[in-house]
């Protein structure tokens, strides 16, 4: 082959399967870019900040700030048993944001929660349906005790 490309080169250092397995083990895994030193999470084949091609697996602290959330009252088919529940967006201490769920009383979930410190506290695994490509796991966050 031209330019000596290895046919069996592995381009993905951290796959979704690895990322989801990490969450189930209580770890938020990401990638450190050798070029810009910034962290990519959830995983991508290249750095989410600079497009850098050399990435190393790293573990994030799991700590961050609650950017926003909602309380779902009318769910998609397959999520009826979860209602009401709280999808959320968390900006991690290390920089990247992640989507997950917030473990919090839905009746007390008000606008004042925005900006609060949260920490990875578990995993939520959706059993999946015909269209989901199998079960899927996302991180669950809880408020840090100091600000609850």
């Amino acid at each position: 082959m031209g330019k000596g490309i290895e046919m069996d080169k592995e381009y993905l250092v951290l796959t979704y399967a690895d990322y989801e397995a990490g969450i189930r083990d209580g770890k938020l895994l990401g990638l450190r870019c050798v070029a810009c030193k910034k962290i990519t999470c959830h995983p991508m084949p290249v750095c989410q900040w600079c497009g850098g091609r050399t990435l190393e697996i790293t573990e994030l602290s799991g700590e961050g700030e609650l950017v926003t959330f909602t309380v779902i009252r009318i769910p998609s088919e397959g999520f009826e048993d979860d209602v009401p529940y709280i999808p959320c967006l968390v900006k991690t201490k290390e920089g990247p944001s992640v989507v997950g769920r917030l473990d919090y009383d839905t009746e007390r979930a008000t606008q004042e929660l925005l900006g609060k410190q949260v920490k990875l506290s578990g995993a939520y695994t959706y059993k999946g349906d015909k269209f989901s490509g199998g079960p899927r796991t996302c991180p669950v966050f809880s408020l840090e005790l100091s600000n609850d």
Binding site: H42, I74, E77, P87, V99
Partner: protein
């Protein structure tokens, strides 16, 4: 590139349809063909938006069957899928192909039959335009995504959430007022005198968005005949020219810098303005993607019609009404007119063309007729954005 014109337009009634989506598309297409006064044999290619036909009717590859249904012969016919922006990207590509000289006359538009899926399954399939690996297990729905954006908008601009909810409600009040006057709208003659408190007190879907903050699920189709601008006056005295288009792509929600300032939309609108050689102050009317009330507010700021953080107040003050700074969604928008997702972009163009011909329904027609108009269509959670700038004259 050659200039491109719209010479014929078609639009089915939006709402619940018994016809198949291919029949709906054919109906809109034949209307557009008749409106243009051309023959089916003049059509050289077909560009059809369709977001979820596999889930609705077990039909993928609908464009080929639409071409067959219209007996267009073995011409190239392609389905475009950009979630709720499917028809807009179909029209944009159609205009690019005609502009490039590959075809002289084409059909473009879209169709959808979302109501047949019912709310739980429709919510599931629409959520497929979210990022499945990360947003799927979180159980995000489309109202959920925009509810998150609404909360962030309130925080970014130090607005009490209840105050923002009232301003958002004024989007629904305005769009239902115009939808109720539009005979092709899903809510024709309905909900035309909504009050802000009706919206705020309606059933909660995804906190803080209520049912009346959301557009409905819909069936319907819309289609356009496009041709090279140099030929347009052979067919019509009132061609509408496509002056510029833009398209932008986003990604997973978590990779966005700010949900209330989607880069995909800013970039798409900018490139459409650049192509057209126009700026927001030149535009007389817009149809924007108000899938949710907050979405209209975000769209207007991203497109440059208002400064960041000012579109909510501007809407509450009536600046987006007929006679205001920039009339927005005089067709009723997605909220009042309905949102058959694969057809919406074509419907937006249809209603701008109607405005330019002075043929919009009484109460919705702006005066004087607009010289320049623009559409804004959003697919997914800011994953696909498309803008089309239209004018009554070539520049």
């Amino acid at each position: 590139m050659r200039d491109v014109a719209i010479i014929g337009i078609g639009h089915t009634k939006f709402g619940r349809a018994a016809k198949t989506s291919i029949e709906l598309f054919s109906e809109a297409a034949l209307q557009a063909i008749d409106d243009a006064g051309v023959e089916l044999k003049d059509i050289e290619a077909l560009f059809q938006g369709a977001a979820l036909p596999g889930f609705e009717e077990g039909q993928v590859m609908p464009a080929g069957f639409s071409a067959a249904d219209l007996n267009l012969g073995p011409i190239p016919a392609t389905r475009y899928e950009g979630a709720c922006a499917s028809a807009s990207v179909a029209i944009r590509d159609a205009a690019l192909w005609v502009g490039a000289g590959e075809y002289d006359m084409v059909l473009a538009g879209g169709a959808e039959k979302a109501l047949i899926m019912g709310v739980p399954f429709a919510t599931r399939t629409f959520a497929m335009a979210c990022h499945a690996p990360t947003e799927g297990p979180a159980g995000l729905t489309f109202p959920g995504v925009f509810a998150m954006a609404a909360r962030l908008y309130a925080r970014n601009y130090d607005l009490p959430l209840d105050a923002l909810r009232e301003k958002m409600a004024s989007v629904s009040v305005k769009n239902h007022r115009h939808g109720a006057l539009n005979p092709l709208a899903q809510f024709y003659n309905k909900l035309g005198d909504l009050k802000v408190e009706d919206v705020v007190k309606s059933k909660m879907v995804a906190d803080p968005l209520t049912l009346l903050d959301c557009c409905p699920f819909s069936d319907g189709a819309s289609a356009l005949v496009l041709c090279a601008a140099e030929d347009a006056r052979k067919y019509t005295d009132e061609p509408v020219y496509i002056l510029g288009t833009g398209q932008g792509s986003g990604g997973p929600l978590s990779k966005m810098e700010d949900l209330t300032k989607p880069v995909s939309r800013i970039s798409s609108a900018k490139s459409a303005f650049k192509r057209a050689g126009l700026s927001p102050k030149d535009i007389d009317i817009v149809e924007v993607h108000d899938c949710f009330t907050i979405a209209e507010i975000i769209a207007l700021e991203c497109m440059g019609f208002f400064e960041w953080g000012e579109a909510a107040d501007a809407t509450a003050e009536g600046q987006t009404e007929s006679g205001g700074e920039i009339p927005v969604n005089m067709s009723g928008g997605l909220i009042g007119k309905g949102h058959p997702i694969g057809a919406t972009g074509a419907s937006q163009v249809y209603w701008i063309v109607k405005q330019m011909r002075g043929e919009a329904p009484k109460g919705n027609q702006i005066n004087p007729v607009p010289e320049y108009g623009m559409t804004d269509t959003l697919g997914g959670d800011f994953g696909t954005l498309c803008h089309i700038i239209l004018g009554r004259s070539k520049k």
